[in-house]
Each structure stands twice: as structure tokens, then as C-alpha cells.
Symmetry: C2
Subunit: 350 residues, 2 copies
């Protein structure tokens, strides 16, 4: 694969305080970029991280034709860098792109571009259990035209940001009973840019009431629990884990599917089926709802301490040996090359 | 109001073939721009139209936090330039912004910025019944951070594009029965960027089958007709016009509400109520469905010649004296200062 590389003159890494990073605000020295023009992806390039020059009429600004992925890389004690199931993200960004009528990005370009970029910026991946490199592949519509139709031109990019943990403190959630995230036959399953903007206002209202996340319900009836926008959600009733099936409204999370496999391999009973608000409230009242947690690339597993439904508040018990803690440990040990990976999920950057 | 103005050195207008314009691809000499930083809108500016320098991590690229408006200006035979109900667009962009958790843009900045920009680029507004200047106010999230939360920074802009008619030829539509545009409790009523990208793939499938537009139905049942994405839709059964009520799924179109008022003033009976697919199909079979047309800023009124529902095709009659033709003439005469404006809709640029 042809790949044009332009290296930075001087790294900016010495200016970064790695012990005090805010999520997603600091970027590495280089970025990967590939333009779709005249019906084809052009020669990809890696060049110094910098601002883009984009016309104000570019379609991404007007019509939200943009998709993205989130991935993480980890460095082990031998200075090896590891990715987690990168082929899942590569496949999914093309599924998202298809739903938004954007061209698929070639697998080889994605994988080789990512690998080369990570090798060039390897100093930015720090060791230690709280450190990772967050990787953001994305595609934007770059045709300069304010007509509401698919773009002819696109830009695929990968940018990377050193990160520490995603959530600080307790996570309380509220079940949505007015606003919605996704429609049947819509783009909820895709990592489409517009899905996220649509959630910010309801998220602000929830935050004003003291909730860090919303668990979205189906838009038609608000009777079934779906996902949390940046996380899929799991519920533990007695000793069984429940999570909603994926659909055209629910993102097929890589962490979600990995946690299902991991839990099964730990002999935890997992049921993937529709989950009603009613049964969760009833289980909570009977003391049978033992855990709720979110899963996602940024959070890995985020335990939920309380939920609210139609103004009624429920605290979850504090468990000594939670499934969330067990599964998070198993998962991050695989991700960081601290344990055997019998699933074959870990991929070395080399 | 403080407004910083930087004029172009030389106009590029002589390079433009005004008899051969593609919609939304050519822009005037200047653009209006205002940044929201440190919790406040800064001094607005008008400067030469040019590419923006934007970081690849800007939230608009990742989370679709962007809203827009569409307006038109017309030049009459006395070289006066006219806007149509601009306060409606000014109010609506702030309603859209609120739903996407973006700050309201001050009315004075919007109106004075627009007026000044149009005076500076007045040569770009051409006379004649097929000519107009399409005006695109929009707001994008500009914080440089790949964390899925509302931006701290924004950019409000107005760019302008000389245009001729929007649709060429016959418009056939298909009623949606699989894909959806908007959810209850979602952002369908807002001119949110992501709404448009979500429609491109279904629109492509429809285009492959020979349909230029989709009439979206409710996402829950697909039994009720809503809007066409870039147009609201009217149905004439016998001598009554029907259109769906606005809701949190349906855009409150400026042309839509103006056409309702205009029709009433022409003693046409107008009913705003839910419209079922079933009744439209039945009316078509009985020969009572006489017209369908779309309304929107870009199209004004776009007659629909045929529709398809679940594989069944219906042609609409060709009428000598259609409501669509009558209302389009009345509307554009008001817009172009060719008739009295008893509604007070027309606003002179001065």
C-alpha cells in the first residue's frame, strides 16, 4: 500500500503533563488522512497533526454526514503496544458509513494506516493501568455544496489522544421517558455523528437533576431499556446478566459483545433479550437487582450506583464481589497483555 | 452593534456564469462569522469568503452538533432586495440550537449581520423570476475535544449562494415503510445537521427506484404521513388541502405556514391534521386525490406527479388550475415584490 509520510520536525510530547490529562483534548504528533475524490480513495498520508482547511460549505457542517469509531491502544511492561479487536471497529465504521451513504474505507488502508501511525507515535502510549491511547477514526463529508444530498467527497482520518480514566466518581442514571435517541428504521445502530448531538440537551437536563447518564428507552412506548448513548447497559438480576439485543436503534458495541463472551466463559448466565423498565423497577423493589453497569470503549465498564424512573429513585447495593469488577479486571488484563487471551482479541502493533 | 468588516480586494463575480448555476455550489464574495468563546458571542465579522481553519478534533466533525437555516433574497426591477419573513428563520435557528444544547444567537447580530452582508454582496442577487440568492445561516460546534458532550465553543456563519430553480423535472415520491427520519422525543422538528445525513441512504434507494423524494411516515407504525425531509407535504382531496400538524418530529416550515395562510386567504379550505397513508391511497383510488405538493424555502412549491406506496403506483391528474400553481404564483409574487403583501411578510434590505 502506498502511504505518504511527512514527519514532524520536533515532537510536542515534552509539553504534555501525562498525569493530568482531560479526556480527548491532547493529540499526538501525527494524524492519518485519506481523501475520497473522483469516486476513489486517494493515496493515504500521515502528516503532522494540524488544523484542516475546510470550506464553510462543506457538507459535514450542514448535513452531519459523518461517522466515527473509538478504539484504545495499551502499552505493556515490555513496551509492546496492543490493540483490542481492531477488525471490529474497521468493519463497524463501514457499516455506519453505508447507512449514511458514505463509501467504505478499505480494510488494508485502515489497518496499515493505524499500525504505522501508532508506531510513529508510540512514545505517546504510556504504561500503567490508568493509561491508554484513545484512537479516533472518523469520516467526514467534504464536498463544498449546500444542497441536501450525499457528498461526492470525503475525508477519512485517524487522530489519537493519550487518556486516563473516562469517568470520575459515581454514575447515576435516569431512564428516558420523554426524549429519545433513535427511531425504528433510523441510524441509532450507527456511530453517526448526529446521534450524539441529539442526546446533549436531554443529557444536560439529566445532569441538572444529578444524573451522569440517560438510559434510553424505545421511542414508541418508553417501556423498554435500550442503551446509554456512549455505553451499552447490563443489568444483573440475582445471578443473571441481562442486556438488550442489538437492533437498528442500538449500537453493536465491541465491549458489549466481548463482555457477553467473557461472562459466559466465567460461567455467568447471560440473557440477551428485551428488558422492560417495569421488570427492572420490580426487581429493584424486591432487592433482586444487584448491579447495573455500562460498557463502551471509553469507559470499558462503568458501574452504575443508582437509577431514577419517573421521579422514583433506586440505589443499587454495594457488592463486595461484583460482576462489573470481575469482568472489568478480566477484560483490562486481556487488553493490557496481563493475562492469557484465549479469545484471540489482542493484536500487537508491529 | 460592533461589526468588524474586511472587504475583498477584487470581486470574483465576473467569473460566474449566472445562467448556468448548480444549486449551492457558488458563493458570494463575503461571509458573516461570529464565534462563541468563554461563554459569550464575540464581535461578529464579515470577511472575504474563504476556507476555515478547523482542528480535526472539532466537535462538529464527531458529534454532529450543528444546525442551519435556509432563506432566500430576491431583487425586484427597481434593484431593491427583499427577504421573506427573516424573523421566522432567526427564531427557528435558536429553537434548533436549544434542542442541540447550543447557545442562542442574538437577534440583533443575526438581522444586522445578514442585512450588511446582503448590501455588500448585492450584485450577486440577480433579477428575474428564476433567480434568487440562497442564504445559509448555520452554527457549528468548534471545541477541540473528542469527548461526547456539548461543545464549549461555536461558530455562527452566514454564507450566500446565487441560485436558479431547485428541482428540474417531474417529482415522484415514495411513502416510507421501512426507514425513518425522526423519533418521538427526537430532533426531527429541528434543522439539525444529522437529520439530513440520516435520510441520504434511503433517498438513494428511492432514487434507484425512480423516486426523487421520500414522504416520511411515523417511525412507530408507518401509518401516518409526515414530511419529505427538505419539504413539508400538502395533499388536495377534492377541494380541501390537508397537511400534517407540526410535532417534535416535523419541521415547522416557514413556507408551510405561509402557504396555509395564503390558501385560507384564497378561500381554499385547509385542514391541519394527521393524514393516514390509508386515506390518501383510498382517495387516489376514488380519483379524489387531485394534488400533492411539497413546500420549502429551496423549492417554494414543488408539485408531485406520482406516488408509490408498498409497491403500488399512483399517478396524480394533470390539472389546468392547480392549487400548487395558484399558490406558487401568489407566494413568489409577494416574495419578489410583484404584488401587494397584505401579510407583511416581505422585508426590504436597506
Amino acid at each position: 500500500m502506498a502511504l505518504h509520510i511527512e514527519k514532524i520536525a520536533t515532537s510536542k510530547i515534552s509539553e504534555v503533563d501525562f498525569s493530568n490529562l482531560k479526556f480527548g483534548q491532547v493529540f499526538t504528533d501525527h494524524m492519518f488522512e485519506c481523501d475520497f475524490e473522483n469516486g476513489a480513495w486517494q493515496t493515504p498520508k500521515i502528516r503532522p497533526y494540524q488544523a484542516l482547511s475546510i470550506d464553510p460549505s462543506a457538507k459535514v457542517f450542514h448535513y452531519g454526514q459523518a461517522v466515527f469509531e473509538g478504539m484504545k491502544a495499551y502499552k505493556d511492561d515490555n513496551d509492546e503496544i496492543w490493540l483490542f479487536r481492531p477488525e471490529q471497529n474497521q468493519e463497524r465504521i463501514n457499516k455506519s458509513a453505508e447507512r449514511l451513504d458514505m463509501p467504505a474505507f478499505p480494510k488494508e488502508y485502515f489497518m496499515e494506516g493505524l499500525n504505522t501511525l501508532l508506531k510513529m507515535d508510540s512514545e505517546w502510549v504510556k504504561k500503567g493501568e490508568n493509561n491508554a491511547l484513545y484512537i479516533r477514526p472518523f469520516v467526514i463529508a467534504t464536498e463544498n455544496c449546500v444542497s441536501a444530498s450525499s457528498s461526492t467527497n470525503y475525508k477519512f482520518m485517524i487522530i489519537c489522544s493519550p487518556v486516563q480514566g473516562y469517568y470520575a466518581g459515581e454514575v447515576k442514571v435516569v431512564f428516558a421517558d420523554k426524549y429519545s435517541r433513535a427511531a425504528n428504521g433510523g441510524v441509532g445502530f450507527a456511530k453517526a455523528a448526529g446521534n450524539y448531538a441529539a442526546s446533549f440537551y436531554p443529557a444536560k437536563l439529566a445532569a441538572n437533576d444529578g444524573y451522569q447518564q440517560i438510559v434510553w428507552t424505545d421511542a414508541s412506548t418508553h417501556e423498554y431499556l435500550e442503551e446509554a448513548g456512549t455505553m451499552n447497559v447490563f443489568f444483573r438480576i440475582n445471578d443473571t446478566l441481562y442486556t438488550a439485543p442489538t437492533s437498528d436503534r442500538i449500537l453493536d458495541g465491541v465491549t458489549r459483545k466481548s463482555i457477553i463472551e467473557l461472562a459466559k466463559s466465567e460461567d455467568i448466565n447471560v440473557e440477551v433479550r428485551k428488558i422492560s423498565v417495569k421488570e427492572i423497577v420490580e426487581a429493584a423493589k424486591k432487592g433482586e437487582l444487584l448491579e447495573m453497569f455500562g460498557t463502551g470503549t471509553a469507559v470499558v465498564i462503568s458501574p452504575i450506583s443508582a437509577f431514577s424512573n419517573k421521579g422514583e429513585n433506586f440505589d443499587l447495593p454495594k457488592l463486595e464481589n461484583s460482576y462489573a469488577a470481575l469482568l472489568k479486571k478480566k477484560m483490562t488484563d486481556i487488553q493490557r497483555n496481563l493475562s492469557e487471551d484465549k479469545f484471540g482479541w489482542r493484536v500487537k502493533v508491529q
